[in-house]
Symmetry: C2
Subunit: 373 residues, 2 copies
Amino acid sequence: MKTIAEAAPLVETKFITLFDDAHPLQLECGEKLSPVTVAYETYGTLNKEGTNAILICHALTANAHAAGINSPDDETPGWWDGLIGEQRAFDTDKYFVICPNILGSCYGTTGPSSINPRTGEPYRLTFPQFTIRDIVAVQKKLLDKLGVKRLATVCGSSLGGMQALEWPIMYPDFCETIIPISTAAKQSAWCIGLNAAARAAIMSDPVWNDGNYAEQPMNGLAVARMVGMLSYRSAEELEQRFGRRRQDPNRDAYAPENPFQVESYLHYQGRKLGKRFDANTYIYLSRATDSHDVTRDRAPLPEVLGSIKARMLCIGVSSDIRYPAKEQKEIVHFCPKARYAEINSIHGHDAFLIEFEQFNAIIKEFMARKSRS
Amino acid sequence: MKTIAEAAPLVETKFITLFDDAHPLQLECGEKLSPVTVAYETYGTLNKEGTNAILICHALTANAHAAGINSPDDETPGWWDGLIGEQRAFDTDKYFVICPNILGSCYGTTGPSSINPRTGEPYRLTFPQFTIRDIVAVQKKLLDKLGVKRLATVCGSSLGGMQALEWPIMYPDFCETIIPISTAAKQSAWCIGLNAAARAAIMSDPVWNDGNYAEQPMNGLAVARMVGMLSYRSAEELEQRFGRRRQDPNRDAYAPENPFQVESYLHYQGRKLGKRFDANTYIYLSRATDSHDVTRDRAPLPEVLGSIKARMLCIGVSSDIRYPAKEQKEIVHFCPKARYAEINSIHGHDAFLIEFEQFNAIIKEFMARKSRS
C-alpha cells in the first residue's frame, strides 16, 4: 500500500512568456526572437533571499517534467524523480528546484514547432539556429522573473551538462556550484558525426518535406533515434541484455522476419521517439549541441575553464562512449575548484537515467559539503 | 618516372560458374542456389602440388580487385595492393594469391542484384539469406576448380576475418594457417545494432520500394554508410582530422549551410557508397555478418575455437571500436596455436586499409616462420 509520504507529489507544468518585441531575446547568431514562452516545473519553496534555488537542465529529448506526477491518472514520475524530492540529491525540503523546458524544444517552450505569431504558422525551418548559450540566457531570464538571486547549483547531463558548464562562465556570480554530468567542454567530431547521421536520416525521409511536414517523418526520426541509442548505451550492456538472441529463438535463425532482439529493441525505441518528438526540433537541438564549445569567441580552453569561480562536481560514467570519462576529466583538469567523480556502470551515457543510487550518494555528499562551507 | 618494376601489374578479373541444377549450392538456411558465378582475381603462380595458395577474403563493400590495376587507363590499385605483390606480406614471388568476390556481393559474384535465370529478373529479395559459412563453401568450390590442394593461409579483415575464422573449422585439413584481422568469434549485439540502423535507413528510403527499385535508394545507402563510418573510424582520428572546423571557417558559424567538416566528410562518403553499391546487397551482406557465430549448431566457444588445428595470427587494432581488440584476444585465448598481434593506430577498424607498413611487417614475419617450420 502506498502511503502519502511515498506517493510522488502532484506537480503542475507552468508556462511563462518572456521577452517581447521591445525587448527581444538577442541570439548568438545575430537574430532576435520574441516572445519566448517557457514551460517549467518547480519543486520545493524559494526562500526569502532567493538563494536556495537549484536549476535542473535537461538533455536532448526530455522536458520540464523532472519530478513528481502531473496527474493523479498518470503515475509516470518525472525523468529525474529519483534524484529530486525529500531527502534526495536535490532535496526539496531545503531547496527550490526548477526545471525549464529548454529553448527550441517541443514540450511547451518556444521552438521550431511553435506558432510564429507574425505568420500564424509554425516556425519550422524559419526558426533561428540557437546555441547552448541562448538556452542559458532564456533560463536566466526565467530565474530573474521567479525571484531567484543565486543558484545553489546547476545540474544536468549530456546537453544538460553543457548548459551547466556555460552557466558559471556566462553568469560568474550567479552560481555557487555546478554539477555537469557526462558532458564535454566542446562537442567532439564523433558526436557531431553521430548527429549529422541522425539529421541526414530525418531529412532523407520524404515526409519531412524540407521541414514542412503535415505529420511527423516517423521513419527518419526512428533511424535517428536508433543511431543515438547505439551511443547512449554501451556495447557491454547490449551484449549482456540481448546478446545474439533472436525474437523467437525456436524459429529459423536466418529469417529476416525473426530479427535479433537488439534489432527489435532499437526499432521499438525508434518508433517510440517518433511518436513523441518533433523532427525539426531534433534537427535544431542537435545543431545546438554541435555548437557547444566553451572557448568559442572567448579564449583558449585552460583560460576559459580556469576562470570558473563556482565549485564544481563533474561526473562521468565508466562506460560512456558518447562523452567518454576523459572528456569530463579534461574539464576538471583545467578547473581549480572542480572535483571528478565516476559512476561505475555498464549503462553508458544513459546511466544518468538509471543509476540513481550512485548519483544520489555522490551528489548528496557534494551538496552537504556545500552547505557546511 | 615509374619503372616497370614499380608499376602495379595489370590483372584481369576472371569469372567462373560453379554449381548447377544437378549439383546446387546447399545453403545453411535450407535453400538451394544454382548457378553461382564467382568473380575472382589471382596474383602469382600456383605450384604443381597446388599447395602455395593464399586466399584473401574481403569485407562488406569490397570486391575481387585486391591488387594490381585492371586497366592501363585506370591506375587505381586493388584495395590490398599494399600487402599483395613481390616482397610484400603476401609475396607473389612465392605464393598464388586468390581474391574472390564473395557470395551475395554485387561485383560479379551471384547475389541479390544478379539476374535469376529462372525469371530473367534480378533476384532482389527472393535471394536466399546466406551466411558466412555459405560464402566459405563457395570459396572452397572455387579453390577446388583452380586446383588448390591446400591453403598456405587465409586472411581477411572484418567480414573477411569471419571467413578466415570459419575456414579451418569447416575444412580442418585444408588450411595451414589463418590470419583473421579485426574480427570476432561472434558478431556482437552492438554490431548487429549498427547494421540494424543501416538497414532501417535503406528500407526507410521510399526509392528502395521493398527491394524493387529502378535506381539505387541513394539517401538510404548514404545514411547507412554514415552510420558505418562512425564505427569504422575512431573518435580520436575524427578529432585530429576534422575537430570542430567548419567547411568555411570564415563564414557564420551557425548557418546550417556551412556544416562542420566532419559532416561534409560523412555525407561525401555516404554519396560515394550510394554510387557504387547495391542496396539489397547491403542488406543481405550485413545480415550474413550478423549471422556470424562460430558456435552456431556446433559446440561451446572454447571447444569450437580449441579444435582449430591451423596455426593462427590474429590481429587487432588498438583503436577499433567496431571489433575491439578484446574480441580478437578472446579468439586467441581459446586457440592453442594462435598468436595475437596488435596494430597501433588511430584509424580504428579501417586501419587494415591504411596501416600497410605495420601489417606488412607483422604478416611477413608470421609467413617467414611458417615457411621455416
